[in-house]
Symmetry: C2
Subunit: 215 residues, 2 copies
């Protein structure tokens, strides 16, 4: 009984996600669903990426949070169109939440929309929202055991961004283990190593993004 | 319709949580529901705490993970009774999952059981499992904006353990902001600052735990 309901919810979600994707696509907007644990650095990555892309791609952002507008304020400070969704108690964004804010962004003027999901390494991976790709952030302090403990997120993501690599000297964490375990779960996942504090690696990620959109 | 089902699930969960609590209580076992984001250091905290309590309190552990037995293996290596629950796709432990493993721990011989929840700063806070207290871990690299972004977890927790304080010199994070925001959400929350790497602060937390159980 419970399973039947869950499957209906996921079916409905998938239908709305496809609707969203058609809208984005018809406007020529590329969409990235950005996911991670709380505090892995999604908003910092957006700030760095948007600055790096400045003048090359016009970006907009949809911010998903349980409550509050802190992250939207950070993006707004960059002069970028941003919409904040508060999910209340929901631990992930779903396609319907995105559908309801489609009119709140100037999609006609944008090349790319980043959807920053609620900080959670589990449920967001189950809900498509109409994105072209899923990108996950794993921060180094979270540890190198995360791919095998939260496999669905790594399996569903097209891109893995390993953040906070500036902290590597102070942690007993193996980037190689993260990469090899992620690749064993998902051989086609593309991996970038960055520090949103020092800026290391951001150029490479932004260059890849730029070339992907132009392709 | 959706809301009605959710409330029924939470009602059923609460009933089973009370059953669990009666069982634990009748065996003289104190129970801690341990929650955090992925990689905040729950298992490391358990390792340090169990070592610190050695000879004073007899501990057992219930490990909750989406998949795998890594954490249970780490606890098992300490010679402590441990049961691993794999939740599959569920992003939190519920009371029924705990109920099903009650017979797998030698409760009669134990003083304290730690229930390590799935790494998630959202949903675990909604589900009582039969614990005496909820303890959350926030690691410093997650940032000082977490109390206001994930308020329910801070409101529901009796204890907040701020972990990875050894990384403070390398992070632009204010411990004072974490503490004041947590206290504004939950004035009675008890806060400890620890490093599971250097061991700093573990004695104070263990001493508090010991005195709480003996009270």
């Amino acid at each position: 009984m419970k399973l039947k309901i869950a499957s209906k919810i996921l079916d409905a979600n998938e239908r709305i996600a496809q609707d969203n994707k058609r809208v984005f696509s018809s406007m020529g907007v590329y969409v990235i669903n950005l996911m991670s644990s709380p505090g892995a650095g999604k908003t910092s990555l957006l700030e760095m990426t948007i600055n790096e892309l400045d003048g090359r791609l016009k970006a907009g952002v949809i911010e998903g949070d349980i409550t509050g507008t802190d992250d939207a304020a950070r993006i707004n400070a960059l002069g970028i169109p941003v919409v904040q969704i508060n999910t209340g108690s929901a631990c992930h964004l779903d396609a319907n939440m995105i559908n309801e804010v489609l009119g709140d962004l100037p999609l006609n003027d944008l090349d790319i929309v980043f959807i920053e999901n609620v900080g959670n390494l589990v449920c967001p991976a189950e809900f498509n929202v109409g994105e072209d790709i899923k990108t996950m952030v794993l921060s180094l302090p979270e540890g190198d055991d995360k791919p095998l403990k939260y496999p669905l997120m790594f399996q569903e993501s097209d891109v893995l961004i390993i953040n906070k690599i500036d902290l590597k000297p102070f942690l007993g964490v193996s980037i190689e283990k993260i990469k090899s375990d992620a690749l064993s779960l998902n051989p086609s996942i593309r991996i970038f190593e960055v520090s949103c504090k020092t800026g290391e690696g951001i150029d490479e990620w932004a260059k890849w993004l730029h070339s992907t959109l132009k392709a």
